[in-house]
Amino acid sequence: MSFIGGSASFTRYRIIDEPPKSLWPEIPDRLKKFPFTDIDNLPEERAWGWVCFDNMIDTEWRTAPPEKAHYIAFSFRLDTRRVPPAVFKKHFTIALEEEERRNKQEGRKFVGKDRKRELRDLVKSKLMTRFLPIPATFDVAWNTEKNIVYFDCTRQKVCDMFLEHFTQTFDLHLEPLTPYFLALNILGTEAQHRIDAAEPTSFV
């Protein structure tokens, strides 16, 4: 996904806190402090962090700096390792049959619930290392004049991960510009009472 591509699906946020002036020169270093870390050779299921806007494998911002006029642009990279369900099912069946055989030899009849769960986890982590993580990047464009941030994603889970990582990196909190917050932003907090008190309209 990308802002520069043909079409983008994105969420708009407002930075709640006024960023301190001292933050601006620190931005590149802060991004580098919370970069994406590759898990190709690690048995991890998921990894995320910042990468260069112009190059998803650049976590040093050698390709281009994040500052673009009055915008700061970078990307949130999220790699996820997935075991295809059919592959998991096959290997879990093999593991279960082996366990049942062993149990029979030892005079036990069933494989308990807890042991089944253990087997499931064991099979999953064993298979996990055999699949490469799938990389995904989501662009971030931060308008430093308006303190608005555009995040190139609308999936709630990914948005939540992004929000947490953003706050961790910059000590700033983001508010999604949903109909309610956008209304407050446009009309000002003096209109909050009227917005809160509005009852749904019946068109019937």
Partner: protein, 174 residues
Amino acid sequence: MDPYLGQTQDIMLGQEFLTWLWYTCEKTNGLFKVRDGQDIAVHVERRVSVQGGEGENLETATVSGAMSELRETKLGLAMGKKVTRALLRIERDVETWQTTLKAEDFTFGGFRTPPIEAGKDEGDDPDAKFLEKIFLIERALDFLDDIYKRFLELRLGPKWTAEVKDIKVWMVKG
């Protein structure tokens, strides 16, 4: 996201805004005057999703067809269904933007801007493409914010009751 203050208002404002926008676009041929006196046209395109019922009986219908189907959808609104998302086309002079706006959270789907010109020549600033694209995105968002502001002023003011009457007539007329 955890529940937050204003979440119920989000759904209400978003759905009513899209309903009002659909009605207003048809009434005025989509013509709006926005910031700095600019004239733009907004069209609610053929793709509209409506939702009715609650809990297990929740039903969503997406219409992406002929005008006759849109008329049926409008009748659905008169029976209590709500607009949950709509495909919008915004025009200003020869420029066209398109996006699907989701009522409950105002996220933008499939946002298309007019074609960008920057970055075609070798000598162009490497950031020119990004800057032109984000400029175009923000321009359309400013337009939409202006229209939303107009809706809010009407919605939270004394003229809303009269507007609702007109919207009801429009719904039934199909």
